[in-house]
Symmetry: C2
Subunit: 347 residues, 2 copies
């Protein structure tokens, strides 16, 4: 058992609820001494954190699929870390784990909290630490179960995915290719689009920043028979453009709506939603936690694709816990290229 | 074979495409001599026509689930009639039929058109002529298959249906009660709400005209555990209010959006659509024609409920082909009480 009594824990807490984009004023840094775990408990050192669009929702007051982060609480974040002290026979010092670690350097867990925070050992032979936050982590699970359980991809169908170079998008598109779909990505900028086509092997990628009609024209060009599956990470105008090009019997997976998360006015509803009627289509939401009892199956399948080179995984790694307030904003500006990861410690 | 050569056929044709609510200027009356059917053909005399919200959509240019009515064409309408001349062995003079008859007194059909117009004999022992336009007709089929095939009602679930006193709504609500759901209607005005509760046996009915917060407050009161199934005939604000109260795993059947059909600006998209994500819910469109090969099964089941008194059927019957332009508007003002039927002839 390492002596952890000299360690201090640097943390980022939610100071106030943002209106629109979060600013520095919404955050507060604290430093606390690190405690030793009690019977059945654990002390985990954070190595890397997952920065996700969903975080913006957790900062708001009000009911959602999980409770909001309370004012004054350490900001919620999924991450990967290493056990540095253990009073629990299921975890040994040196074990790598993933779970809800929070934006902080250390997390002390009681026995109850181990389960509540979803702590699970991860096997670095299946993927790197950052891959465990990407294809093998929540984004990968979200993409996997959204595509497979809600999208029901069939060979030869046309799938469109927005946020194609992002964490969920890259898993969805590559997995859909493996399942025999034609895959069209939507991403911001030529560099992302080139990577999505040339490295990930999508059939095409539409650069939504290329002009006001880029998405409409791109969908028309690349989806001449309509869109069978749309995996939506962005909402807003792009959702409306895809609705206007649905094939009969289409499935839309509502995974997120990053274009709307920082709105100071109402969310933009999809004005073309009656395309669901005309095309006998459906639009369905997904929350990844519902599939927790099958994560291990998806991890095993996806790790196989990583190993045999059929799937690539790209992370955009930024270093330093204190950069969190600024790094998070990269998501909303579309500046991250690949899964956005905050590296907190090296080992 | 009756001598039909002295008959004339009065018709209502689409003269121009409306902007907003249709006006008299959008219609043109014509009178033509009635021809005798050719080999394999039929002459049908219209008895009653179904006036439906969907008619407004058919008047617009552009792709939908069926082609628009062309300028100068007889307005499309489903109806019931009687065969007055037949050169087809499958139909005898005096047979009652339903199908796409058009807003006119007579319809001459070639053998090909008999199938294309969906002509089918109807059995007046199963229901009256007007019931064949209501519970046993397209609205009933729409309600039946939307509820059963898309809604998947489970005993004890809470179903909300808008347009509850209308043609589709009355079938949906009564059928959901028979299937064991708690049923909350939404309708306009106390008279309709009273009828829905006291005659049809819904558990409650919300009068959306009772005040600006009536729907929100009514849903809160009557759906304390959320809405499991929402059968949407209206769209607009009411759809948004229901989205805000979905139960986990809810199903929304998109059948229509009468509040939006006469918009001169864009359709109002459901700004609360992200409730689909939070609640793992889905929203799915239905077009009744897809279920044509199972109509007979639904008719048999629904006719049984009419016969044993478990289901009521209310039609709002207006007389006279020439009233069509004004009568149609009753739908968009919510003035019809029950299925709106235009009686064209008595027998």
């Amino acid at each position: 058992m390492a002596d952890t009594t000299q360690l201090s824990n640097h943390q980022i807490r939610l100071a106030s609820r943002p209106v629109g984009l979060p600013t520095h004023a919404n955050w507060r840094s604290t430093t606390e001494p690190v405690q030793q775990p009690g019977a059945g408990g654990l002390l985990v050192k954070t190595l890397a954190l997952s920065l996700d669009p969903a975080m913006r929702g957790w900062m708001n007051e009000g009911k959602s699929y999980i409770p909001p982060v309370g004012i004054g609480e350490v900001m919620r974040a999924g991450g990967v870390g290493v056990v540095v002290a253990s009073e629990n026979p299921q975890f040994a010092v040196g074990d790598h784990v993933s779970g809800s670690l929070g934006v902080q350097e250390y997390l002390l867990l009681s026995q109850d909290q181990i389960k509540r925070n979803g702590l699970a050992k991860i096997d670095l032979r299946l993927g790197s630490l950052t891959q465990w936050l990407n294809v093998l982590g929540m984004p990968g699970m979200t993409g996997y179960f959204g595509l497979m359980d809600v999208g029901h991809p069939q060979v030869g169908e046309t799938l469109v995915v927005s946020g194609a170079a992002g964490a969920v998008g890259q898993t969805v598109g590559q997995l859909a290719k493996i399942k025999g779909c034609r895959v069209i990505g939507i991403a911001g900028g030529a560099a992302k689009c080139d990577w999505v086509v040339n490295t990930l092997g999508f059939d095409a990628c539409i650069d939504y920043k290329a002009g006001p009609d880029a998405v409409r024209d791109g969908l028309k060009e690349h989806c001449p028979n309509g869109v069978d599956i749309y995996f939506d990470n962005v909402g807003g105008d792009i959702l409306d453009q895809v609705l206007a090009r649905l094939a009969r019997g289409a499935r839309i997976i509502i995974c997120g709506a990053i274009s709307q998360y920082n709105n100071t006015s109402a969310v933009q509803g999809p004005k073309n939603y009656l395309s669901l009627l005309v095309n006998r289509a459906r639009m369905q939401g997904i929350v990844v936690f519902d599939y927790a009892d099958r994560y291990h199956l998806a991890v095993a399948e996806l790790a196989g694709y990583l190993r045999d080179g059929r799937m690539h995984s790209k992370e955009d790694v930024v270093h330093g816990l204190d950069t969190f307030p600024d790094t998070l904003l990269k998501l909303f500006a579309g500046e991250n290229f690949g899964k956005l990861v905050l590296q907190v410690a090296d080992a």
